[in-house]
C-alpha cells in the first residue's frame, strides 16, 4: 500500500463517516461511537499481537489506566478533561514501557500470563480503592464538551480513530514496521540481521499501550461513568475476538472486526451477556481454521487481492 492510497482511502472513509450524524439517531450514533472505540483498541492491540507476536492480555487494562487517570484528575483535581486524556495517554504509555521491559525476556505464554496478572492486579486495586475510584459503583466524570451531543462525541472518536490508524500505519509501513514484521516472523533471524528485538518489542508495547490509554480516556469521558468494566478481561477478550475474527496481522482486519462484532453484539444483546463468550468461541474456531480471519477469507476469494501480511503469531519462542 502506498502512502497516497492509504491517506486517500482513510480520508474518503472518514468523509463518508462524518455524514452519519445527519442520518442516524442517537442510539445508532452510540453504536458507532462504541465501534470506533473498539476500532482503536483492536487496531492497537494488533500492533502487539499481530505484528510483533506478543499476545498481551493487558490491553483493556491500559485503556482503564487512561480512563481512570483522566477521570480521577478531573474529579479530584479539577483538571480539564482534554488535558486529562493526554496525561492518561502518557501514563498508559509509561506503564506500557514498564510492562514491556518486564516482559522482555519472556515469550509466548509467559508474557501472556504476566499481562494477565497485571490486568488482575489493576482490577483489584480499582475495586478496593473505593475512596478514589468509587469501586464497582463507577466514577462519575465530566464530559469533553460543554453541551452534550452524540454527534460531537462521534466526531471526537472519529478523529481519534484516524490519529490511531495514521500512527499505526506510519509504524507498520515504515522501516520500523519491516523490523516489527521480521520479529513477528522469526526473532532469531531478525536479530541475525541486526534488528534490535528488545527495542522493537518495547516500542510496540509502549505505542500500543499509549493508543489504548487514549481510547480509554476519551471513552470514559464519553460515558461520563468510568467503571472497572473498561479494564476488565471481558473487554480484553472482546478486543481479542475482534482482532482475530477480523484478521490478526492485517491492517484492516481489526477495523472490520471491531465494527462487525460491535454491531452484531447490539443485536444479540437481548440474549444476555453471553455474547463475549460466543465471540470467544468464534475467535477460537477462526484462529484454528482461518488464521487470517475475515481479511484472509476475503483475500483468498479475490484473486490478486492483497494478501494479509501475517498469520497467527508464533508463541512459545523465547
Amino acid at each position: 500500500m502506498t502512502d497516497i492510497r492509504f491517506y486517500l482511502i482513510l480520508f474518503a472513509a472518514a468523509g463518508l463517516f462524518s455524514l452519519l450524524p445527519l442520518g442516524l439517531g442517537d442510539y445508532h450514533l452510540h453504536v458507532m461511537i462504541v465501534s470506533l472505540y473498539y476500532l482503536m483498541m483492536a487496531s492497537s492491540w494488533n500492533l502487539l499481537a499481530g505484528y510483533t507476536g506478543q499476545v498481551s492480555f493487558a490491553h483493556a487494562a491500559f485503556a482503564g489506566i487512561g480512563a481512570y487517570t483522566s477521570g480521577i484528575l478531573a474529579v479530584k483535581f479539577g483538571v480539564n478533561p482534554w488535558a486529562g486524556v493526554i496525561i492518561g495517554t502518557a501514563a498508559a504509555s509509561l506503564l506500557g514501557l514498564g510492562v514491556g521491559v518486564l516482559c522482555l525476556r519472556m515469550g509466548g505464554i509467559y508474557l501472556s500470563l504476566t499481562t494477565l496478572g497485571f490486568s488482575e492486579i489493576l482490577r483489584i486495586v480499582i475495586t478496593n480503592e473505593y475512596d478514589i475510584t468509587r469501586g464497582t459503583m463507577g466514577l462519575q466524570v465530566p464530559g469533553l464538551v460543554e453541551e452534550y451531543s452524540k454527534a460531537a462525541y462521534f466526531y471526537i472518536m472519529l478523529g481519534a480513530a484516524m490519529i490511531t490508524l495514521i500512527v499505526l500505519y506510519k509504524l507498520i509501513y515504515s522501516n520500523k514496521g519491516l523490523c516489527f514484521r521480521a520479529v513477528q516472523n522469526d526473532e532469531r533471524a531478525a536479530a541475525s540481521l541486526g534488528v534490535d528485538v528488545v527495542k522493537v518489542r518495547v516500542l510496540a508495547f509502549t505505542v500500543s499501550s499509549a493508543l489504548a490509554g487514549l481510547a480509554g480516556g476519551l471513552y470514559g469521558h464519553y460515558l461520563h461513568l468510568i467503571t472497572p468494566e473498561i479494564p476488565s478481561l471481558d473487554q480484553q477478550f472482546l478486543v481479542l475476538s475482534m482482532t482475530v475474527i477480523g484478521g490478526m496481522g492485517s491492517f484492516l482486519g481489526p477495523v472490520i472486526g471491531a465494527f462487525s462484532l460491535e454491531i452484531l453484539s447490539e443485536y444479540i444483546r437481548a440474549y444476555g451477556e453471553y455474547h463475549v463468550l460466543v465471540f470467544g468461541l468464534i475467535a477460537l474456531v477462526v484462529a484454528r481454521f482461518a488464521p487470517n480471519g475475515l481479511m484472509g477469507l476475503a483475500a483468498s476469494r479475490l484473486p490478486g487481492g492483497p494478501a494479509p501480511a501475517v498469520t497467527v503469531p508464533s508463541t512459545g519462542k523465547s
Partner: protein, 239 residues
C-alpha cells in the same frame, strides 16, 4: 592478520559437550572451510561467534575486539553475517522485504532511504530477483538458501558465515555455486567461513579447512593436507 579468532571456546548442552576448548583463526580475505561429521559442533561454533549462543568459556575476537557474548544484532553490526542451516525466512514477507530487513539495519548500508533498490540489487546478486514480490514461504529450499545469502549480504558484512548452503543442488550446480561464492569473496572483498558437507566443494573453494570431531578441534590445514590426514579419514569413516 586474523579477522576472526576463537580462543578455547567451550559449550555444553546439559550432558552433551558440543564444543570443548576449540581455538581457530580465520584470516582476512580467505575462504575457510569448517567440516566434521554430524554433531561435531560446527553449527554450535557459528552460534557462539554470531552471538546466538553464549559460550561457557572462551573468547571470540573480531578485528582485534572482544565480541564474546554480545547479542546477535550487535554482532551483525560489527560486520558478521550468517545463514542458518535450517533456513529461517520471514515467511509472510516478500523476498524484497526479507532482504530489506538486512538493508535498513546495517550501519554500513549504502541506501539513503531507498532500501528497496538496494534489496533488489542483492536479490539480483544471488539470482532470485524474479521472486522479489513473492512471499518467502512459497520458496523451495534452494531459493530459500539463496534468499538467506542475499539477506546476509545486505547487512554489508566483512565476514560471511555459510552453514550448509549447497543442500539440494546437483553436481553441476555445485560447481557453479562454488564459483559464485569465490566471485562474491573477490568482488565484495569478503571473508568467508563456510560449513559444508559437500567435501568436493570445500576442497575446491577453501584456502584452509578446519576439522571438528565430537566437539574437538581435530586438525586444520590446506584441503590437500586435510583429505590426506588419517585422523580425518578415521573421523569420517570410523563410525
Amino acid at each position: 592478520m586474523a579477522l576472526l579468532e576463537g580462543l578455547r571456546l567451550s559449550k555444553r548442552f546439559g550432558g552433551v559437550t558440543a564444543l570443548s576448548e576449540v581455538s581457530f583463526t580465520v584470516e582476512e580475505g580467505t575462504i575457510v572451510g569448517l567440516i566434521g561429521p554430524n554433531g561435531a559442533g560446527k553449527t554450535t561454533l557459528f552460534n557462539l561467534v554470531a552471538g546466538a549462543l553464549k559460550p561457557d568459556s572462551g573468547r571470540v575476537v573480531f578485528r582485534g575486539e572482544d565480541i564474546t557474548g554480545l547479542s546477535p544484532n550487535i554482532v551483525c553490526r560489527h560486520g558478521i553475517a550468517r545463514t542458518f542451516q535450517v533456513t529461517r525466512p520471514f515467511g509472510t514477507m516478500t523476498c524484497l522485504e526479507n532482504v530489506g530487513v538486512g538493508v535498513i539495519n546495517s550501519p554500513r548500508s549504502e541506501s539513503d532511504g531507498n532500501w528497496r533498490a538496494t534489496a533488489l540489487h542483492y536479490l539480483e546478486t544471488v539470482g532470485v530477483e524474479d521472486l522479489a514480490f513473492t512471499e518467502a514461504r512459497h520458496l523451495n529450499v534452494v531459493q530459500k538458501k539463496k534468499l538467506e545469502i542475499a539477506r546476509a549480504l545486505a547487512t554489508r558484512p566483512k565476514i560471511l558465515m555459510l552453514d550448509e548452503v549447497l543442500g539440494g543442488l546437483n553436481s553441476q550446480e555445485i560447481v557453479q555455486a562454488v564459483d559464485f561464492i569465490r566471485r562474491l569473496r573477490d568482488e565484495l572483498h569478503l571473508t568467508v567461513f563456510w560449513i559444508e558437507h559437500v567435501m568436493g566443494a570445500i576442497m575446491k573453494a577453501a584456502e584452509k579447512v578446519i576439522v571438528l570431531d565430537q566437539g574437538q578441534h581435530l586438525m586444520e590445514g590446506t584441503p590437500e593436507q586435510v583429505v590426506a590426514d588419517s585422523r580425518v579419514i578415521h573421523a569420517y569413516l570410523g563410525e
